[in-house]
Amino acid sequence: MTQRVAHVVQSCFNGRRIVVFSGGAAKEDVNASNDDARAIRDGGGNGSIIGRNSFQRPRKDALAMFDQLVRIYLGQDEKAGKGAKRETVAV
């Protein structure tokens, strides 16, 4: 998944354009969205766009979900260890 993201970014002027990835169909599992976000981050993508998966949850759950996503993109999540690129710069 990380490499697929990297290939999509490469295909978009080799990183010279911002590429944000949509979450796709509604997902019950928050972890799936988080794993997607880690792959997008590590593959050099610029972020996630998430509609139904957030606003169809109760507000408290949606806020917790967004908090986790933001932490992932800031490299502050627990899985951001070795190899996780922080502040990936499009070149």
Binding site: M1, Q3, R4, V5, A6, H7, V8, Q10, S11, C12, F13, R16, R17, I18, V19, V20, F21, S22, G24, D36, A39, I40, R41, G45, N46, G47, S48, I49, I50, G51, R52, S54, F55, Q56, R57, P58, R59, A62, L63, F66, D67, L69, V70, Y73, L74, E87, T88, V89, A90, V91
Partner: protein, 267 residues
């Protein structure tokens, strides 16, 4: 009063009073976000520099987008788009969480979560434009589809003038590169992007592989995904949205190239 109602203005993200734009990212300069947590802010400076032909107005609006929320200045974005009430219908969209029937709910959710700019259709944007003015940059989604029609096309439902009137940072537009209407959609956004950029707005493209001879599985094929993303490029787009590719190769011609290059890593 529900807990998500409007908060005092104290919650507004600290505005970027001064935005430095750099056209030479390799030259040391001030950070994009004064006092930001990113010392030299390479991400933001590099991103702006990549949009080489855009005028200062479009770059400033792109900077507004990149500086918003908790990810401001990081070069990353987490976006809450809400056009599902139109696209999938109110019940399918909002019944699971009834407060979401209120257009203000989504504004407040995006603001409280510290998210990046918010894309919405004209109606919902107008419904909260005054209440939330200045609290989060807006992207006017200027075309929309519903699920009542079979054709893979979208109607133009907003204008550049609407975006300017509502103080938006950008317009957003969906194209379906696989659709029989794809070329017409591209011509629509070419004209609208030119107008938007002439007025200093940024442009966001949603590019979905849909319609035509594409299989359902092929919609997430890596060749199709990468190809459709690249469609956002010729017409001077600011940002594009890609669905995460889940399946290899829809087109035999592309498969041959991928396999010849031995790129199992992207399979």
């Amino acid at each position: 009063m529900p807990g998500w109602r409007r908060r005092p203005p104290a919650r507004i993200e600290k505005p970027a009073a001064v935005v430095y734009l750099s056209f030479a990212p390799d030259i040391p300069g001030p950070p994009l976000r004064p006092g930001g947590r990113h010392e030299h802010d390479p991400a933001g400076r590099q991103i702006l520099a990549n949009y080489e032909s855009d005028n200062p107005g479009s770059k400033a609006n792109l900077a507004r987008i990149l500086l918003q929320g908790r990810l401001g200045g990081s070069g990353k974005l987490v976006i809450l788009p809400v056009d599902q009430g139109f696209e999938h219908g109110p019940v399918r969209s909002f019944a699971p969480n009834p407060p979401a029937y209120d257009p203000h709910y989504h504004f407040q959710l995006a603001i409280d979560a510290g998210l990046s700019p918010m894309p919405r259709r004209l109606g919902p944007l107008e419904a909260g434009a005054a209440t939330f003015a200045g609290q989060i940059p807006l992207i006017l989604k200027v075309n929309s589809a519903n699920t009542l029609t079979a054709t893979k096309d979208q109607a133009v439902t907003g204008s550049v003038r609407d975006a300017l009137r509502l103080g938006c940072a950008a317009i957003g537009f969906t194209i379906y590169p696989g659709s029989d209407q794809a070329y017409a959609m591209m011509e629509e956004i070419r004209a609208m992007a030119a107008e938007a950029k002439a007025h200093g707005l940024a442009v966001v493209i949603w590019s979905y592989p849909r319609g035509g001879s594409l299989s359902k599985e092929g919609e997430t094929g890596i060749d199709i995904t990468a190809y459709c993303r690249a469609h956002g490029l010729p017409a001077r787009r600011a940002r594009r949205q890609g669905e995460a590719a889940e399946r290899p190769y829809e087109q035999p011609e592309a498969r041959q190239v991928y396999e010849k290059q031995r790129s199992p890593s992207i399979r």
